[in-house]
């Protein structure tokens, strides 16, 4: 699956490449959203795509996320493979009725007579100074809706492979693109490839402690792990990549090996996906290998502040992960 490559592109370019390649090979795939055409997307993901595919397949819409989601759901129902984009994940609130009550339910309510193969692309996360209404990470809402899959890639390589898998999936897939990751560079093979949705990735192997992190928390956890190496603490970083379906086995195997687990995410702690991960570990056979309580490091239970200092303080940073991982690795030793 993994092709050796020396070519490095950004996360943003990897997302675009996946879109372009899928649209070239499958005429049913199209992009729909606000300013995705002429403007090239709120973050520039779809730059140049209007020129290649025309306004039929790169469709600008009025400012109505409900209409985008409804149109995409209808198109999917009729056999197309829409990729809808909202400018900020926060605006999924407007789309929620279409996504939760229509897109997620139809395949089940009609006894499998239809399917809804659509992708919802949603730039998520804080760190850009965009304040409380443009910085949220709402994955926990959607993993709680049966019928929707949730993917949160952390590298350019994963972004391309997972987006292609999401487009080819016959169910609604929420695809979270972290705004701070758009500019991250990494090796990405030129040819199309897909990464199975239920496949967690061990981003770094280690003995002493497992950090389960996704999206922006992966590069932060990796940086923290490097810092802790100097202290003799050997950290393993596991990236679930898709939150639903979740590759429990890889996480359980890692935690069983290290006996210690720190779960990191940006979304607020209360009701966050970390609670699900913690419960999954506690219920699994990894329980018998735990040597310290499972610990979560998550965003504070506050709306993301506009003030840059407070914004930074509201979500786990590298130094927070270092401190939490160090404490966890040393407890009871």
């Amino acid at each position: 699956m993994i092709t050796e490559t020396k070519r490095e592109i950004t996360y943003l370019e990897a997302v675009r490449e996946a879109l372009v390649q899928e649209m070239r090979t499958d005429k049913e795939v199209f992009l729909i959203g606000e300013d995705v055409g002429t403007y090239g997307g709120a973050f520039g993901v779809s730059k140049g795509m209007l020129e290649e595919f025309g306004p039929e397949r790169v469709r600008d819409t009025p400012i109505s996320e409900a209409a985008i989601a409804g149109a995409a759901t209808g198109a999917a129902l009729m056999g197309m493979r829409p990729v809808m984009e909202v400018m900020f994940m926060d605006f999924l609130t407007i789309s929620t009725n279409q996504l939760v009550n229509a897109a997620a339910k139809m395949r089940f309510m009609f006894g499998g007579k239809c399917s809804i193969p659509m992708v919802i692309r949603a730039p998520s996360g804080s760190g850009t100074g965009a304040a409380a209404q443009h910085s949220q990470s709402l994955e926990a809402w959607f993993v709680n809706v049966p019928g929707i899959k949730v993917v949160a890639p952390s590298t350019p390589y994963d972004a391309k492979g997972l987006l292609i898998a999401a487009i080819r999936d016959n169910n609604p897939v929420l695809f979270m693109e972290h705004k701070l990751l758009y500019r991250m560079k990494g090796p990405v093979p030129e040819e199309p490839y897909s990464i199975p949705l239920k496949s967690a990735d061990v981003k770094r192997e280690g003995r002493d402690l497992t950090i389960v992190a996704y999206s922006i928390m992966v590069p932060r956890a990796l940086e923290a792990a490097e810092k802790l190496t100097a202290e003799g603490i050997d950290v393993e970083v596991v990236d679930p990549r898709s939150l639903k379906p979740l590759d429990e086995e890889t996480i359980v195997r890692s935690v069983s090996k290290t006996g210690r687990v720190l779960i990191a995410h940006e979304a607020p702690r209360t009701g966050g996906f970390g609670g699900e991960l913690a419960a999954m570990v506690a219920e699994s056979e990894a329980f018998d290998y735990l040597d310290v309580p499972i610990r979560r490091l998550a965003g504070r239970d506050v709306p993301i502040p506009y003030n840059r200092t407070l914004e930074r303080a509201a979500v786990p940073q590298v130094e927070d992960i270092v401190a939490a991982a160090r404490a966890l690795a040393q407890e009871g030793k």
């Binding site: 006996g259 018998d288 009871g332």
Partner: protein
């Protein structure tokens, strides 16, 4: 109707109690309120009363049994009534997954139950529990290094290692019985000691280090080996304090029913002076210095072989009469083993008086987490120069041990000096 006699929970954090002795025999008639049995807690032995009138029956606890709180250890029956043949209440059993234990009349039932349930109550991480099971190690024997004594994998491995060392020594012993006693390699775990050979002598008795003695051992070794102690002492002329006591004996006895002791006067003096010397009423914790507003005065008291320190809370707010009352109540109940653990913990400063045993002066080890302790000696008539001649004055020696991390020599000297002038002019204490 049978009344259950249970292992009492005498302290919020108490989970098990060690049984010491029955004060009544099986089949003996008891009245409600009679002293019935003695248990050992972390702090001290405590005497418990009978919960009902009747006949003590179905006694199933014995010396050194470690029993979970609320566990039934006997019944008080009406004459002619039969023992209820019931099993352990469900909520106790569900604490631990391991084999269901039923109380029967089989020998040593209480011990078996205590062990099984105790296993469920130990704070232990899942991996340590599994490892202990695999290695057939009883978790109750391991002390954990984690928060609140939680047992981690490392504790189980350390225990196994030290245990293996002891076993190999025992094996050597058995293999060569005629050879002189080998040096016991003391396990690394609780008491790190060099390999010191034991004397080749006949043993009269071997007492397991447990209960209050064990706590004292741990606290005192911690204090002596980690706290940089220094001691200062001075002599105090007690002429005026004696006069004060004589004057107050009768009125205070009328008021409180107790005789004023020198310990009470000392306690009053310390409680008066100490607020002006906050570093002697302080604790070092988590990298900070806590200066205590309250003076919880510990009064070191000997009960049988054990030291216990009943605590007079907020001593700074108590007048002499109140101190006399509090002190006599605490020491009486200490000797009758009726103090609750909360009355024996949480002191911020300790006074230890060995004057009644003829000791003239001594240095005490700080009772952590306190920062200082005052050792009080016997009153000795001592020649003191007055004008051209001398006269005999009743002098006591006060010796303060202090934690040099928290307070320096001058600070302790000022405290002792003020204490001395207060005791030599004690009328301000009333």
């Amino acid at each position: 109707m049978a009344t259950e006699v249970i292992m009492p929970k005498v302290d919020m954090v108490m989970e098990t109690g060690t049984f010491v002795e029955w004060l009544k025999q099986e089949g003996e008639h008891v009245n409600k309120g009679d002293p019935l049995f003695v248990i050992d807690t972390d702090k001290a032995a405590i005497e418990m009363e009978s919960p009902a009138d009747g006949i003590l029956s179905g006694v199933r606890a014995k010396l050194n049994d470690v029993i979970p709180v609320t566990e039934v250890i006997a019944y008080i029956l009406a004459p002619g009534e039969a023992l209820p043949m019931k099993t352990v209440p469900q909520q106790i059993l569900t604490i631990s997954a391991p084999p269901k234990v039923e109380i029967t009349t089989a020998p040593e039932p209480a011990l078996a139950v205590a062990k099984a349930i105790n296993l469920g109550k130990v704070r232990v991480t899942p991996v340590a529990r599994r490892l202990a099971q695999e290695l057939h190690i009883d978790l109750a024997q391991i002390s954990g290094r984690g928060p609140r004594g939680r047992i981690h994998k490392a504790d189980v491995l350390a225990f196994q290692k030290s245990h293996a060392a002891i076993e190999s020594v025992n094996e050597q012993k058995n293999a060569q019985p005629a050879v002189a006693l080998p040096a016991v390699a003391v396990p690394a775990a609780p008491v790190p000691l060099a390999s010191i050979p034991l004397p080749d002598a006949r043993r009269k008795q071997v007492i397991p280090l447990a209960g209050a003695r064990k706590i004292i051992a741990e606290r005192m070794s911690y204090s002596a080996s980690t706290i940089p102690h220094f001691t200062l002492s001075l002599r105090v002329d007690m002429t005026e304090a004696i006069r004060l006591r004589e004057r107050l004996l009768e009125p205070l006895q009328a008021q409180t029913g107790q005789r004023v002791s020198f310990t009470a006067i000392l306690a009053r003096a310390v409680a008066t002076v100490l607020p002006r010397h906050p570093y002697l009423n302080a604790s070092l914790a988590d990298g900070s210095l806590i200066l205590w507003e309250d003076i919880h005065l510990g009064i070191a008291t000997s009960v049988e072989e054990n030291l216990i320190v009943p605590v007079i809370r907020e001593a700074q707010c108590k007048n002499l009469g109140q101190l006399v009352t509090a002190l006599s109540d605490l020491t009486d109940r200490a000797r009758n083993r009726r103090l609750t653990p909360s009355e024996m913990t949480g002191s911020t400063f300790t006074i230890s008086n060995l004057g009644m045993f003829g000791i003239e002066s001594f240095t005490a080890i700080i009772n952590p987490p306190e920062s200082a302790i005052l050792a009080v000696g016997r009153m000795v008539d001592t020649p003191v120069r007055t004008g051209d001649g001398f006269e005999f004055r009743p002098m006591i020696q006060l010796t303060a041990s202090a934690d040099h991390r928290i307070v320096d020599g001058v600070g302790v000297a000022r405290f002792l000096d003020e204490l001395k002038s207060t005791l030599e002019n004690p009328y301000l204490l009333i």
